[in-house]
Amino acid sequence: MDTAIEKAPGVGKARKRAMSDTWYAVLLITPASIIIIFFALFPLLYAIMLSFRHVDLTSAVGIGPYVGLDNYRFALNDRIFWESTRRTLTFAVCAVSIEMVFGVAIAFLLNGLRWFKGIVRSLLILPIASAPAAVGLVWRYMYHPDFGVYNGILAALGLPEQNWLGDVRLAMPSVIIFDIWQWTPFVALIVLAGLQSLPREPFEAAELDGASTWRVLRRLTLPMLAPVLTLVFVLRTIDAIRLYDVILSLSHGGPGTATETLTYYLYRISLKYFRLDIGSAIALLFLYATVVFTAVALRSMMRVQAERARRA
């Protein structure tokens, strides 16, 4: 029987094609895999190794002996670690929330635009396309209380001038404002793409049934946009908690430590003090938290996608 199957026309050729497809797929992903192995996986494994050793590159120790969980213990008891984590979370929650609200609103406005849609879309890309470090430097001078344009505008309007980056109460909100300026267009463009890909029939049916705009938004638009909104929320959150280059150019973590985020603290401990042991431990704790957050946030979206695939 096996012989009959083997001798059946087309079977052998099908098997050969399946093998070729597999190897072809392997061949296609090999370049990216090599890059990921060398620039992501190997550094990650090296960092894990360092996190269990005593490492002080500027002392005679260099990469020293294994110390077990001492570095993790130190990080979790480090006051500065928790303070910078708190600041990072404050920044992420505030910035991302406002960007989502403004971004969705702009997307809806753009979607309803009849003229100059292309031009407006192109202008929206400008903040995203700019290098954060370079733009941060420009904003630092725009925020300057003595020479900056923002205080010039406030003065012209008869409003009190502010010490944007020098007042410990205003420094982090000033960084948040900058981030909102730079990344709201990203949210808007992604959501706009999602809006434009929605099927028209349900909306036509709802219009025929006399549903109000608010009801359509609540019962149709937002639920159908949920996967896109979830994705852009996760992407922005991951980006926000990694904030570093803007802090470096805008405020250097100051005044004092008012804008020192976790990544900036990581830079200080790893590349100013060269304590790669503690830096690796902090980085891995940070990575773990990010992975858990992403998994939890995407869970519902993945469940919906799986359900749809199962029905299909």
Binding site: R73, P145, G166
Partner: protein, 504 residues
């Protein structure tokens, strides 16, 4: 898939709980390792240098006008030797870590490095740089003229544990700048004396500086030199941002008052009552009279404030910025800028110093360039362009100074500060501590935090003390026995004599 995710989350939480449970008393910082053994000085160069076309000397240095000059002057060296010189300019805020990364990586990317006074001990102790004693001994004394380098700079910036580790490129030694047209206005002088009970003049104490700052802080509608102001005028410009300069200002006050960042026993001195008073004076009596931008300012902002006619004086400030500061006279009608010593003249005295990277592939050739660019001829050219040299023969050359007020008007004052430091034998303990580079960064953070009000002065200084103890893993080592077994940097009385000033 979701079950796996759940397992991942639960597993992670369990591990985290174990870690937290294991936390208890945090592990003490690892004990300080014994310093790297002293580097055996290399033998005097005897081998013939490689052919010129094979040598490129790479020099890492601070970005700024000094580097522009250095690149120009390096062309002369290239023409003379046939070697290539590549100047890599790095912003000061990143100069330390960019160089250290190359050191620990053993790349040998830089042949010549530039170190600040606070990094000298660390670089020497860790074996990153080569001692220069044998190179100096093997060279023609006329090429180096070592005795021509001001002794205060030699001790503060070049020597550590008996060896010479670098030669100075230029000095950032601090002094004080002020609007002498304001200080000498008869109306202002009369008003000041009536209010404060002593004549308006260059402040000889920091309390006087605070009085002057308060006096000259004017609101729109007030008068200054008899003219009605349309904008607020500030009594002082401060570099209180989270940059290295804030500690230079604050430590100048502390040192003048006899306080120490690191006491003679190696423990932090930041919680001493008088040290706290010094920081309080800065925050409570100087900051209120500085422009709002002070909390984010570096030195260039203060120069900008002076040139825009916004401030009456600086605190302790880098004398090498004279050539920039004096441009105020072109931009603010009727103004004149004068240089003086900071009150008490105990301030940051040091130089950006050049050293040979121990990992250099061309140490001998690097030495040739190093001694050339720090030598008398190149330094004179540097000074002609306004560079702050450390060479006595130039600093005190009246013929050289004549007619060069705009470029080197600060030289007499610079010499005063250096002379006072040397005569008083005042070299802060911090200059010798191997963890100096890291402590310098911690100072930036916590002095800025105190100045901005993020923390109270006491909180900020306690955190700084904790950071110092962490980096030193206990009391800091201070290898300064060559200054005497019971050496302690004690300030000497000083009064600035205005007759040394180069006036308009």
């Amino acid at each position: 898939m979701f079950r796996n995710m759940r397992k991942l989350v639960i597993g992670g939480v369990v591990i985290l709980a174990l870690l937290l449970a294991a936390c208890g008393t945090p592990a003490p910082p690892p004990a300080a390792e014994t310093p790297a053994p002293g580097v055996t000085p290399p033998p005097a160069p005897t081998t013939a240098p490689p052919p010129p076309e094979e040598v490129t000397i790479t020099w890492a240095t601070i970005a700024g006008f000094y580097t522009d000059w250095a690149e120009e002057v390096a062309r002369d060296f290239e023409a003379e030797t046939g070697w290539n010189v590549e100047v890599v300019d790095i912003d000061f805020s990143q100069l330390y870590e960019k160089q250290v990364i190359e050191f620990v990586g053993g790349t040998g990317a830089y042949d010549i490095i530039t170190y600040d006074v606070g990094w000298k001990a660390e670089f020497a102790n860790s074996g990153y740089i080569l001692p220069l004693d044998d190179y100096i001994a093997a060279s023609d004394p006329e090429e180096i003229q070592f005795e021509d380098i001001h002794p205060a700079i030699v001790e503060g910036s070049c020597r550590w544990k008996g060896n010479v580790w670098g030669l100075p490129f230029y000095t950032f030694t601090m002094g004080y700048f002020y609007r002498c047209d304001l200080f000498e206005d008869p109306g202002e002088m009369a008003a000041f004396e009536a209010e404060y009970g002593y004549p308006l003049d260059v402040p000889q104490t920091y309390e006087q500086m605070a009085d002057i700052a308060e006096f000259f802080h004017r609101m729109p509608g007030d008068t200054l030199k008899g003219e009605v102001l349309s904008d607020e005028f500030y009594g002082i410009g401060l570099m209180a941002g989270r940059f290295p300069h804030v500690q230079d200002e604050m430590m100048s006050i502390a040192w003048t008052w006899g306080e120490k960042l690191i006491k003679d026993d190696g423990t932090p001195g930041t919680m001493e009552p008088r040290f706290l008073e010094a920081v309080h004076l800065y925050r409570d009596q100087l900051m209120p009279h500085a422009p709002p931008g002070a909390a984010t300012s570096a030195y260039d902002e203060v120069v900008g404030q002076m040139r825009q006619g916004m401030i009456a004086q600086t605190a302790a400030f880098y004398l090498d910025q004279w050539a920039n500061m004096v441009k105020t006279e072109d931009e603010v009608p009727g103004s004149e800028i004068c240089a003086a010593t900071s009150p008490g003249a105990h301030t940051w005295v040091g130089a950006l110093t050049l050293a040979i990277n121990a990992g250099s592939k061309h140490p001998d050739q690097a030495w040739e360039f190093l001694k050339w660019i720090t030598g008398p001829e190149a330094q004179r050219k540097f000074a002609e362009g306004g560079g702050s040299t450390c060479r006595l023969s130039i600093l005190t050359d009246q013929e050289f100074l004549e007619g060069r007020r705009l470029a080197v008007g600060h030289f007499p004052v610079l010499n005063e500060v250096l002379d006072h430091e040397a005569e008083c034998n005042f070299y802060p303990n911090y200059y010798y501590v191997p963890q100096g580079g890291k402590i310098y960064d911690e100072e930036t953070t916590y002095f800025s935090a105190a100045a901005s009000g993020e923390y109270s002065v006491e909180e900020a200084m306690q955190k700084l003390a904790d950071a110092i103890e962490m980096h030193c893993a206990g009391p800091c080592e201070i290898p300064n026995d060559h200054l005497g077994a019971d050496y302690s940097p004690v300030p000497c009385p000083y009064t600035f004599d205005k007759s040394v000033q180069m006036r308009k």
